[in-house]
Subunit: 218 residues, 2 copies
């Protein structure tokens, strides 16, 4: 598949790298065509890896990952272009973490809305699926690294888009039954508001290499 990854940070690099390893044609998108991190990534990732502007990668992609900060994601999608994104699945991995008041960060968008919802509202022709924002980038692309079953949560308004994303997640190593569908895109509030707890759990756990599992009644 031709897949665009918007964002050149750790999350974008981890997802783009995994997608290349799985045999996809992956284009990393950034603000400028000569972005240094994207150039370095594409050169190191080898055949199947390219880079271009947000609009350049969105135009030719069949599916798009949003791996930018949730604070700027709407702006990034405008740069990518509504016409380039229309009808496509957008996997929104973002969190609107605001470090401007120090650590721990707060969320610049939350509670009565979410990044996922705002993107879906601003781009009604895009099939937004929120996923993967609740785990570290290592766990995203290598869920088997943890010592036992654990869960990933997705949501979105388009059932077929969610089904496509579950297939892709399965190729990442997420067992189909481990992915819980929380319903429409408004569930992105819960997925994004979980992140402050995730950040605090890094203390007692001793790092970011963990996830949560839902444990039901016996």
């Amino acid at each position: 598949m031709r897949i665009a990854v918007l964002g050149t940070g750790e999350v974008g690099s981890a997802i783009a790298g995994k997608l290349v390893a799985l045999g996809h044609q992956v284009a990393m998108g950034s603000r400028t065509a000569d972005n240094e991190r994207a150039s370095r990534w594409a050169a190191a990732a080898g055949p199947g890896a390219t880079h271009a502007t947000f609009a350049g990668v969105a135009e030719t992609a069949e599916l798009v990952f949003n791996c930018t900060s949730g604070i700027v994601s709407a702006e990034v999608l405008h740069a990518a272009g509504a016409q380039n994104l229309a009808g496509k699945v957008l996997v929104d991995v973002s969190n609107a973490l605001d470090f401007s008041r120090g650590r721990p960060p707060t969320l610049s968008i939350c509670n009565t809305t979410s990044v996922g919802e705002q993107l879906q509202e601003a781009f009604p022709d895009v099939r937004v699926v929120k996923a993967l924002n609740t785990v570290n980038n290592q766990v995203m692309v290598d869920p088997g690294r943890l010592a036992g079953p654990h869960n990933l949560f997705i949501c979105g308004n388009d059932a077929s888009a969610k089904s496509e994303v579950v297939d892709l997640l399965e190729s990442f190593g997420w067992p189909r039954g481990a992915v819980l569908d929380l319903g429409d895109i408004t569930a992105a509030r819960g997925l994004e508001m979980y992140v402050p707890l995730w950040l605090r759990l890094m203390g007692p756990v001793g790092g970011a290499d963990f996830n949560i599992a839902v444990v039901r009644a016996g």
Copy 2:
């Protein structure tokens, strides 16, 4: 121990009932001395169970549970009286769930603060420990009902207060190692902001009888 439970709802009743079963002297507090729910609870719970006003139960208690809605908790503690609470451990179980705009509820306090923090700030002589707000009342008092190990999260500024609460939680059935200390009371933001995810998980799980477990690297 003489324990006050502020609040007459399902959470207050579940916790008060468990404390009576464990042999504590439990007083349920409410706005008025003749509160119907508190009267019924005390009559049904038998010896060791009484009820009175918030101030009445706080005055004689050695430890206090806040089981009121987070929206009114500060007001309830003012009614209980700072002098009646001073020096005591307050286990804050509350969530500031605002249903005024319908379901799912939003949080009336979140992100840059939390109910736990606001109570600690308003009552600096009280030893606030946030705990139990992340699970259903059945799981709170009977954690063994779930099919496997799972975790509870606590936080607070006073280490000895947290230690007392861990002892009490162990008597509820929470294994000591299952209770993760997230640090100071500012971690209450994460604990309270997790609740919107918990509410959405009720869909795929099929009810509220569940919890989460932290799964670490293998």
